[in-house]
């Protein structure tokens, strides 16, 4: 190995070490900002070192790409509101996967022309296929996830007839093209056919998945783009790509597994069952709700809060939709100043991506010590006077405790809010949550419904408390 090349590899190793320290920094909020900066430094190092590579003979394309991409990235990162975080992460992720697929394709074209890649080995073709396939799936899959989260595509599962057969046909085509390419790499048509088919597959795989299952989808796509980057590293025989790619892959798979476990569902169930497509009929919910649901006014709830010693707030996606996080923090602050102990109960799959609620509440300046994980806060509900459920439904539905497999959320761990002395549910109507089933909690004896917009109701409660 010539000395220059060895030097470049050492710099790549340094970048990989910085990535690992960067992620390690994310284990605590205090060190997290520094961790992210370390990872960014690693990235800068890797990029600068790469630019010295003697295979690079022209910088025009690179400069143009960096300027355009950099502008897009900065604009999107700064203009995105915190409530839109899931879809912005999804789209960035799609960009990463797409870049892998296209770059690998370009490398393959160059190799065929006998350019700078000396020989087409099996390692080269098989990793090119891997990166192209996974990159394309993650590009279009992320685009669909973005569309669903942004409300451009219907959030409910879209179930095409015969979709399983179509998918199998698409997968078989991909495998066939890949095999052809690996065995006889003489032209690029199989590669591009495979990439386009994989892009269609990405759409087909995400379209039947409902909006509330997006935490799983985004985590999984994140893992894919990591694996695509690692595959890209294999193509170029570049260690920093392989290491960074597998780190990201690990992060994505861990989060995917955590999200599935938090719903007591298998990954296959999330991906293929089309959960959320069936909604309980009005008659069935009428049986549960009729005559038992009690509605309250903000003033009545304010009186309850006034007399409470401990209040827990359980937020859900509805809080994000209503942008209620600031109004809720104002309410929590006011209660604190009146000597009420206030904490937040965060269900692992509340919202549209892992940790979504934490980010929104942190934006509104809620101290992170007040944000409690489900397992930590569940034993304390018995000593809680009032629980405010804000825009959450399935994650507090006691039906999850039933063993009946016909209930879509059976066995899902939930926040045990029904054990508190009083539960107040802020919600627009009695409509079911994502799972499509009615929630008997709404009809429970210790439950009051506060019908209305989450933000407006939080402001009304604050106003009523101030008058009291």
């Amino acid at each position: 190995m010539p000395r220059e090349e060895a030097l470049i590899k050492i710099f790549y190793l340094a970048a990989a070490v910085l990535f690992i320290f960067g992620i390690k920094g994310l284990t605590h909020p205090r060190t997290a900002v520094r961790g992210n900066l370390l990872a960014a430094l690693g990235m800068l190092l890797a990029i600068v070192v790469t630019l010295t590579d003697k295979r690079i003979v022209s910088f025009q394309i690179i400069v143009a790409g960096i300027v355009v991409g950099g502008l897009v990235g900065v604009l999107m990162a700064y203009r995105a509101p915190m409530t839109a975080m899931p879809q912005v992460v999804a789209i960035f992720n799609g960009f990463g996967g797409g870049a892998s697929a296209l770059a690998v394709g370009a490398a393959f074209e160059e190799a065929l022309k006998g350019g700078w890649i000396e020989e087409i080995t099996v390692q080269f073709t098989s990793s090119a296929v891997l990166a192209g396939l996974i990159g394309a799936v993650s590009l279009t899959g992320s685009a669909v996830a973005f569309g669903k989260l942004q409300g451009w595509i219907r959030g409910k599962p879209i179930l095409l007839p015969g979709r399983h057969f179509i998918n199998i046909a698409l997968v078989v085509t991909c495998i066939g093209m890949s095999a052809w390419l690996v065995m006889d790499p003489v032209w690029s048509v199989p590669f591009w056919t495979m990439t386009i088919v994989a892009a269609v597959l990405g759409i087909m795989l995400v379209i039947p998945i409902g909006g509330a299952d997006m935490p799983v989808v985004i985590s999984l796509l994140n893992a894919y783009s990591g694996i695509a980057a690692a595959g890209h590293g294999w193509v170029l025989n570049n260690s920093v790509l392989i290491i960074a790619g597998s780190l990201v892959g690990a992060a994505g798979f861990i989060l995917t597994a955590l999200m599935c476990r938090a719903m007591n569902r298998s990954l296959a169930n999330v991906m293929f069952a089309g959960v959320g497509a069936v909604v309980t009929t009005a008659a069935e919910s009428e049986d549960i709700y009729a005559g038992r649901v009690k509605s309250a006014s903000p003033e009545e709830v304010a009186m309850l809060l006034e007399g409470a010693r401990r209040v827990v707030i359980a937020p859900g996606y509805g809080m994000a939709v209503a942008q209620a996080q600031y109004a809720i923090q104002d309410l929590a602050n006011l209660l604190n100043s009146k000597g009420v102990d206030v904490e937040f109960a965060i269900h692992p799959v509340a919202g549209r991506m892992p940790g979504h609620m934490n980010v929104l509440l942190a934006e509104a300046n809620v101290p992170y010590e007040k944000l409690k994980e489900m397992d930590v806060i569940n034993p304390s509900f018995r000593q809680t006077d009032v629980v405010l459920v804000i825009g959450a439904n399935d994650v507090v539905n006691p039906m999850a405790r039933e063993a009946d497999p016909s209930i879509p959320i059976a066995g899902m761990p939930i926040l045990d809010v029904d054990q508190a002395r009083t539960v107040v549910i802020i919600k627009r109507s009695l409509s079911p949550g994502f799972s499509g089933i009615a929630n008997p909690l709404f009809a429970a004896d210790n439950c009051l419904m506060l019908f209305g917009d989450a933000k407006q109701m939080a402001m009304d409660l604050t106003a009523a408390l101030k008058e009291a």
Binding site: P29, N36, A103, N222, N237
Partner: protein, 93 residues
């Protein structure tokens, strides 16, 4: 074959390091973890740079430009977004 095995070794070992480090990230920071990891997956930019700076045909020029632009958006946007979020967790009252 030798390089393949070497690459596979690195890949598997890095997966283990990843699992060890990432399982210690608390759920509180799962969104920034995801967007930070996402930014790191933009490392594919390094690969796109090599590909698109080499001797080029018009086709690879276009592919290279798109790949570099997408990867840069991923890297720059990803790290900035993560920074913005993490700053919020750091705020003192």
């Amino acid at each position: 074959m030798e390089t393949f095995v070497a690459a596979l070794t690195i890949f598997i070992l890095a997966l283990f390091v990843g699992f060890e480090v990432i399982t210690k990230v608390p759920p509180l920071l799962h969104t920034p973890l995801m967007s930070g990891a996402n930014a790191i997956s933009g490392i594919t930019l390094v690969g796109t740079l090599i590909t698109s700076g080499a001797r080029l045909t018009p086709l690879t020029e276009i592919l290279g430009f798109l790949a570099v632009a997408m990867a840069t958006a991923n890297v720059v946007g990803g790290f900035l977004l993560t920074h913005r979020m993490l700053k919020m967790f750091q705020k003192k009252k």
